[in-house]
Symmetry: C2
Subunit: 210 residues, 2 copies
Amino acid sequence: MQIPFATIERLAIYVRCLRHLKEQGIKKISSFEMAQHTRTTPEQVRKDLSYFGKFGKTGEGYDVENLLKKLEKILRTKRKWNVAIIGAGSLGTALSKYRGFKEVGYDVKAMFDIDPEKINKKINGIPVYHIEKFSEITEKEDIEIAIVAVPVEAVSDVEEVIVKSKIKGILNFVPVTLNLKTRRRIVVLDVDLTQKLYIISYLIKNKWEE
Amino acid sequence: MQIPFATIERLAIYVRCLRHLKEQGIKKISSFEMAQHTRTTPEQVRKDLSYFGKFGKTGEGYDVENLLKKLEKILRTKRKWNVAIIGAGSLGTALSKYRGFKEVGYDVKAMFDIDPEKINKKINGIPVYHIEKFSEITEKEDIEIAIVAVPVEAVSDVEEVIVKSKIKGILNFVPVTLNLKTRRRIVVLDVDLTQKLYIISYLIKNKWEE
DNA sequence: GAATTTTTGTGAAAAGATTATAAAATTGAG
DNA sequence: CTCAATTTTATAATCTTTTCACAAAAATTC
C-alpha cells in the first residue's frame, strides 16, 4: 500500500517531538498529547502510525524511546548523511551554522561558490571549494544531499553541475523550479520563503475556518 | 465554496512564475507551459484558476500581466506588508538580507534580540531592538507579520511576547510547535529545515513513484 | 475481582484533491 | 466563409486523505 505523503511529512514532526520528549526524560505519551505537540489530531497520529505497525499499548500510550527508534528506522534517519551547501552567501553561511542539522545526523562536509575571496577558506570550519570541483569533492566525501542557496542568476550553472554529479537529493532555497535534465531520479524539495509569506497574507485576510 | 489549501499554495508559485515571465517580456502563456514551470499539470493549473474566475482565452492561453494582477489581488499581495524578525543571529541576519522579500512587497522594518551587543545597532540598515519593546515597535511601525528565528531555548519567551502583541501572522523557523495561548487568531506557518532533510532521506531510499 | 476508565487500532464514511472528458470558443489556413 | 486545429472551461469520475465511530485491550479504581 502507498503511504500518504502527508503521513511522511508528519512522521518527521513526530520524530522531532519524540526527541524532545526523550531529552526531557518523558517515558510514555498518548496519541492525544502527541497531537497537541504537533498541531494535529489524536486520530491522525494513530492512523499515521498504523501504516507501519502497532506501536502503542492500549490504555497506556506509546513508549517514547521505542517509538522514536521505530520511526527513525522508517525515515532512514538513524544513519548519517553527508551534505553539501552550494552558495556561500549569507543564507548558505547561516545554514552552515545551523545546529539542528548535525544534531539529527546531517553533516555539512563542503560548501561551494565561485567567489575567489571565499574559495579555499573555511566557513564555520567547513571548507569552501570552487563549484567546478563539485563532482570530485562530493564523490570523494560521499555526499548525497545538496542544499542550494545561490542567487537566481546562478541557478542554471548549478543545475548543470548537479546533473553531472551523483547527488541524490536537493533542498532548494532558490525561488525557481529547478530544471534537472537527467534520466536518474533526483529528489528535490523546495523551501520558498516568499511563497510562505504570500500564504500567510492570504490566511490573515481570509479567516480560514479551522 | 472553500478553496483547497493546496490550491492556495500553488497560486503562490504561479505568481512567482508569472513575475519571472513578465520580467522576460513574455506576454502570453498556456496552462501547459505554466505547468512545466511549476512542477504540476495543465489540468491542475486550469482547475486552480477556475476557482476564482475565467482568466484565459480559448485557443490562446493566459495574458501574463493580467493573470498576475488577478492572482496578486487574490493573495492580497499587491499591498505592502511590514515584517519583524525576532532573533538577530545568523539565520535572522541572513533573512534580513534576503532580497526576495522586499521585491515582492514584504518590508523588514525591525529586528529583535536580547543580546546587548546587537541592540540599538543596525543590521543591513534594519534597527535592532530589545525584545521587550516588541509590542511598542510593532504597533508603531504597523507590523503584522513576524519571522521567528531564535534558538529553541528562547521560544517560550518569544511566545509570551507575541501573544501580548497584535501580530497576525508568523513564519516560524524554530523546530518546535509554537504554543500561543490566545483567543485571537494568529496564523502560524512552520519552516522546519530538519524535517525537509528527513523527507529527502526517506524519498531517496523509497523510490517514490511519480 | 468486577466495574470503570483510558487508549489503541481500524473499518467505514466523508471530505478533499486530482485527473479525465466533453463542450465551447478562438484562430488561422485554404 | 468554412473547417480543422488549438486550447480553455465546466463537469464528471476517480483517487487520496482525513475524520468518525466503535470494538478490543490494558490499566486502574472501588
